[in-house]
């Protein structure tokens, strides 16, 4: 059976546009608000990446760090993260959900139990930032057995040899990190160069859905639209922070922002 993630990419291809993937942190700035945000942006986003916060994040820039700290301050636990996804998935137009976070959280929870809970909640995919290939082989296999897409990451530092091996053991979606950066860095590589690398990866295996992430904003998203999918995260986390500071409702702000992003790639 085709995964829900694959179906979404197929739909987007029919519409001749990349899929729009958003990233927000579960529990930022409360359980209720983050769920409302997911419901609200899912009118325009195609896939929702949802961060499960950790307090020693070694690959995140300040925006996502702050999002995570806000969530943790409210006492968010993994069980709440699963709860949020489960609640969200009750909507009839619910989009595929990908949980993203650090291995320590999975390790402590127990890999098996983590995957089981993901399945129960309706999680479609997993990104574990610091569990690279080949260390992730066994875990990725367990995901697959449970119909969860394990998303492999590729970066500008990944050699071609390594890429081929990673792609060969990947599932239906792969994530290309646009540049040497933590999340939320300023795009320091031109979109043209990023697409050049993107096309090199596509050439290895056309059938895999390849998304680009890190440093994408409303200003740069348009230039990258010749891709299978684009991830916007830090921009949204920053917008939450901004609206909290101004005592505005982040739900409305994010809805507007994701709507605009979608327009830019349609």
């Amino acid at each position: 059976m085709k995964s829900q993630i694959s179906s979404v990419f197929n739909e987007c291809k029919k519409e001749n546009r990349p899929a729009l993937l958003t990233y927000t942190v579960a529990g930022d700035n409360s359980k209720k608000k983050s769920l409302e945000i997911l419901k609200s942006i899912s009118g325009y986003a195609d896939i929702l990446e949802i961060g499960f916060p950790h307090n020693a994040p070694t690959a995140d820039g300040p925006q996502i760090q702050n999002s995570s700290y806000r969530a943790l301050k409210k006492g968010i636990k993994l069980k709440d993260v699963f709860q949020i996804v489960k609640e969200y998935k009750k909507n009839k137009n619910a989009k595929p959900c990908i949980l993203m976070g650090y291995y320590q959280m999975v390790y402590r929870y127990g890999e098996k139990k983590f995957i089981r809970k993901c399945k129960q909640a309706g999680v479609n995919g997993l990104i574990i930032v610091d569990l690279p290939w080949p260390e992730n082989k066994a875990f990725a296999r367990s995901c697959k057995k449970n119909s969860i897409t394990f998303i492999q990451l590729l970066s500008p530092t990944t050699s071609k040899e390594r890429m081929k091996k990673i792609i060969a053991s990947s599932h239906d979606m792969i994530y290309y990190i646009s540049m040497l950066s933590t999340t939320g860095g300023k795009l320091k590589v031109s979109p043209r160069k990023i697409l050049e690398n993107y096309n090199k990866i596509k050439k290895i295996n056309k059938s895999k859905n390849l998304v680009i992430g890190f440093g994408i904003t409303n200003k740069t998203i348009g230039a990258l639209k010749k891709s299978d999918g684009l991830v916007v995260g830090s921009l949204l986390c920053k917008e939450i922070e901004k609206s909290l500071k101004k005592r505005q409702n982040p739900v409305i702000k994010l809805n507007k922002m994701v709507k605009e992003l979608r327009k830019k790639i349609s």
Partner: protein, 411 residues
């Protein structure tokens, strides 16, 4: 789980970087896979390269100063009764602590990797200071990541770092101490790994950093072995090597030559930071039986909550104030080769006071934790027992804390 004889402990990992099948590893973002692999290759080549070793030995001889003294603490031995107490004065090393050994290796590797910049983390400020020194010597740009809480409490070392022309990057996230400094340093490396060499300041991090650090600090026990033979004509039959453990770089360096000895002959005692006497907070994952967690690229005993968040730590000594510990020490603990205990802030201060009153040495608050345990156990021993404490840091950096807590500080 078993330790092999005749092979340095740092090299006893499997192909994925795990010791004893479960400690260590390489939990890093994809972006760092390649730079880490490059560093692994470079280190492997360099440690077998005669020229590299010659340059290193020359630096140890003429720059670090070798050997650091091995001295008998006669007054302390008399006062406590029991064992004969000695100190290995690693604080004699240029810069005032063992961190110089690791910093030198990293600067040499950085040069050979043809990189012009180096970055590192620091807690007590010693590691930052040593990196700033070698950066100056090797003409490298240097950034030192340091929590703002440590910047406040370790001013003398911060001054030294800046004097050497390195930049201190204040880290304001989380608990604002070493754990956050290491995270921030790794984040910086993710973004700049094409131009910048990273050195981690202790025996922690992804496998290659554990290896480089341990290979470097091993100089301490090579010297000690010779000094023991000079003093006793042999390795004493009842020897205890006591060392403070933060990440565990000085302890490994102090012990590495002695790991193959029977533990009844050479006992290895690691002392963690027990934190304030009346507080639940501490920085002692080994001796307070924390669960295994993944932090900074490696699996090790780690102070954490039931959901996997890293817990706050507390210690009077910045250098020991870290929630996790080296995978090497987890391995030593689980195999039973080393024993780990802790000393509280107050015990460390008491030991500092006693030692400085009786002897002409002035250990920093990190080794003061080791002295606290010597103080506790020595009276129960007798004169055939030999205790050696690694006095791995100089107290000058702690003068403000000591003045505040003990009323005065003189040096």
């Amino acid at each position: 789980m078993k330790i092999k004889k005749g092979i340095p402990l740092i090299d006893q990992h499997d192909k994925n970087g795990f010791y004893g099948g479960k400690f260590g590893g390489n939990y890093v973002a994809e972006t760092l896979k390649k730079p880490i692999e490059d560093l692994e290759k470079l280190f492997k080549k360099s440690r077998n390269d005669k020229n590299f070793l010659k340059e290193r030995d020359n630096l140890y001889e003429n720059y670090v100063g070798r050997p650091t003294r091995f001295i008998k603490l006669q007054n302390l031995s008399n006062h406590l009764g029991g064992a004969q107490i000695y100190a290995k004065m690693v604080s004699d090393a240029n810069g005032g602590a063992h961190k110089i050994y690791n910093a030198i290796t990293h600067a040499m590797l950085c040069k050979r990797a043809k990189k012009k910049y180096i970055c590192t983390d620091t807690g007590a400020g010693y590691n930052g200071k040593m990196f700033s020194m070698v950066a100056k010597k090797f003409s490298l740009g240097c950034k030192v990541f340091m929590g703002i809480r440590d910047i406040e409490r370790q001013k003398p070392n911060c001054d030294a770092i800046r004097r050497n022309g390195a930049e201190i990057i204040p880290v304001t996230s989380g608990s604002k101490t070493l754990v956050d400094a290491v995270s921030e340093c790794i984040r910086y490396w993710v973004s700049n790994c094409d131009k910048v060499h990273m050195g981690i300041g202790s025996l922690v991090g992804p496998n290659i950093f554990v290896k480089i650090c341990g290979w470097s600090t091993a100089q301490i026990s090579r010297e000690l072995k010779v000094q023991l033979e000079e003093e006793f004509g042999e390795i004493p039959s009842k020897l205890k090597l006591i060392n403070c453990v933060g990440g565990g770089s000085s302890a490994y360096g102090f012990w590495s030559e002695f790991i193959d000895y029977n533990k009844n002959q050479v006992e290895l005692i690691g002392v963690e930071a027990g934190g304030p006497k009346n507080s639940k907070l501490h920085a002692a994952p080994l001796s307070k039986n924390s669960k295994i967690g993944v932090l900074h690229g490696a699996a090790a005993y780690c102070i954490q909550d039931s959901d996997g968040q890293i817990n706050k730590t507390e210690s009077i000594s910045s250098g020991l104030d870290y929630p996790s510990v080296s995978p090497i020490h987890c391995f030593l603990k689980d195999t039973g080769r080393a024993k780990y205990t802790y000393a509280t802030d107050e015990e460390a201060l008491d030991a500092f006071k006693l030692v400085t009153e009786l002897e002409d040495i002035s250990p920093s608050l990190e080794p003061a934790h080791a002295f606290a345990i010597a103080k506790k156990i020595s009276p129960k021993l007798n004169s055939s027992d030999v205790i050696i404490i690694n006095s791995c840091g100089d107290s000058l950096k702690d003068k403000d804390i000591i003045k505040k807590r003990l009323g005065n500080y003189s040096r």
